[in-house]
Point group: C3
Chain length 159, copies 3
C-alpha cells in the first residue's frame, strides 16, 4: 500500500485557475504526509518563471517570450479573463475571502517539501534557462523522470 | 486488487464537451460495478449549479455569477462555441443520434450511486451555497476529501 | 507490482501543444518498456484524422467537419494561436531545435507498439468512419474499453 503515498502532477497549463487547483491539491496532499512532485511543462513553465519577458536565443524565441509572459502573479484565467478584468475580480475576491495567493501557495508547498521539476524539452524549445525560473525549482529533467515518478505514485494527474 | 474498484474524478472544467466526456466515463465505470466519486471544483461547479445567475455576497460575486451562468443545460463548448452556434449544432446532432443529454447522463449516474461532492473552497469564493446546487450533490467538502478518495482509487482523473 | 507497467491516456484535446505533451509521455513510457494505450475521444479524434474536411452524414455533420478540420499537421495551439501565427512560430522553433514533429512522434509511438483506440461514441456523433482515420488506429471502441485498460494501469491521464 506504500504506492498510495505519492502524488505526481504534470502542470501543463499556465492559467491562474488551473494553477490554483494544482497547488490546492498539492498542499493538501503534502499536509497529509504524501510525497508530492510537480512536473512543469509547456505553458506550466510560466507558473515558475520569473516575471517579465525572456530574451535571447534568436528572434522567434524573443517574440514568443514577449507574448508569453511568465510569473505566478501574471497568469490569466482560462475563462472570463476578459482582458484581465475577470482575473482582477477573482484575485480581489480571493483577497477579500482571505484566501492565499498563488505565490503564497507555491511558497507553502515548498516549505512542505514538494519537489519542483521543470521540463527540459520545453525549456530548450522556449529558450528558458534555470536562472529564468524561480529558485523553488529543484531541477530540470525530461519526461522519463515524470514517468518514473508517476509509476510509483498512487495518484497521477495531468492539469 | 480491490484498489482498482474505485474511480475518482476532479471535474474542474465547466464546458459541455468535457462534462459529457466525464459523465460517459463515470456512467460506464459505475455500470461495471466501480465505486465512483466526482469532485466538482471551479468552473465544474457550473455543471451542478441550478440554472440562472446567482446573487448575494456583494457586488463582485454578483458580477461574476452573472457572467458565469450555471446549469448543465447552459454550458458552452470548449471549442467551436461560436456564440452558441457550435453548441446548438452539437446538441441537435446528439438528439438526432439519440444520445442522452448531459442532464440525462447526470441523472443516470445518480441512479447508479455515483457520489457528487462540491468543493467548499470554490463555493465560498464564488458565493455558492448548497441550495444553489442541484439536489444530486451529496455533500460539500475540501481538497482533503478528494485526496483521500483518490488515494484509494485505481483511476484518478483531472478533467 | 506489474500494475505499474501500463499507461493509459484519454486524449480528449485536439490542440498541437497538448498532443505533443501526450506523445512525449507516450514515447518515453513505451521506450521504458511500458504497455501504452491512447484512447482518442472528442477533439482528440482530430489528431488521428486524415487531413481535410469530412463529408457525409447530413448537413450538420458536414458543417461541423468543415469547421473542425482534422489531421496532425493542422492542429492549432491551445494558447497564442493568433490565427495560426503562434502555431507557425512554435513549429519553426521545433524544427530549428531539431525536435520531431507530431506526425513523427505518432509514427515513432506506433513503431514502439503503442495501441491507438478511437472512441466509437465520438465517431458516430461526428460522422467519422474508420477510413477517415489514419491507419495507425488499431480499433474503435467505447468507454468500457478505456475503463478496462485504465483499471489495469499504474498511470492513467486525461489530456
Amino acid at each position: 500500500m506504500e504506492k498510495k503515498e505519492k502524488l505526481t502532477i504534470v502542470l501543463f497549463s499556465g492559467e491562474l485557475d488551473r494553477a490554483l487547483a494544482c497547488f490546492n491539491i498539492v498542499n493538501t496532499a503534502a499536509s497529509m504526509g504524501m510525497e508530492v512532485t510537480v512536473f512543469f511543462t509547456f505553458w506550466g513553465l510560466n507558473v515558475v518563471a520569473r516575471p517579465g519577458p525572456r530574451f535571447g536565443g534568436g528572434p522567434i524565441k524573443s517574440m514568443l517570450s514577449l507574448m508569453n509572459r511568465g510569473g505566478a502573479a501574471n497568469l490569466p484565467l482560462s475563462r472570463l479573463n476578459m482582458g484581465g478584468i475577470g482575473t482582477f475580480l477573482i484575485k480581489r475576491l480571493m483577497k477579500k475571502e482571505k484566501m492565499p495567493t498563488l505565490e503564497e501557495l507555491i511558497r507553502l508547498s515548498k516549505s512542505q517539501g514538494v519537489k519542483f521539476i521543470a521540463c527540459t524539452t520545453t525549456c530548450s524549445l522556449m529558450g528558458v534557462t534555470k536562472d529564468l525560473l524561480i529558485p523553488e525549482v529543484d531541477s530540470m529533467a525530461g519526461a522519463a523522470t515524470f514517468v518514473e515518478e508517476a509509476r510509483d505514485s498512487g495518484i497521477s494527474l495531468f492539469i
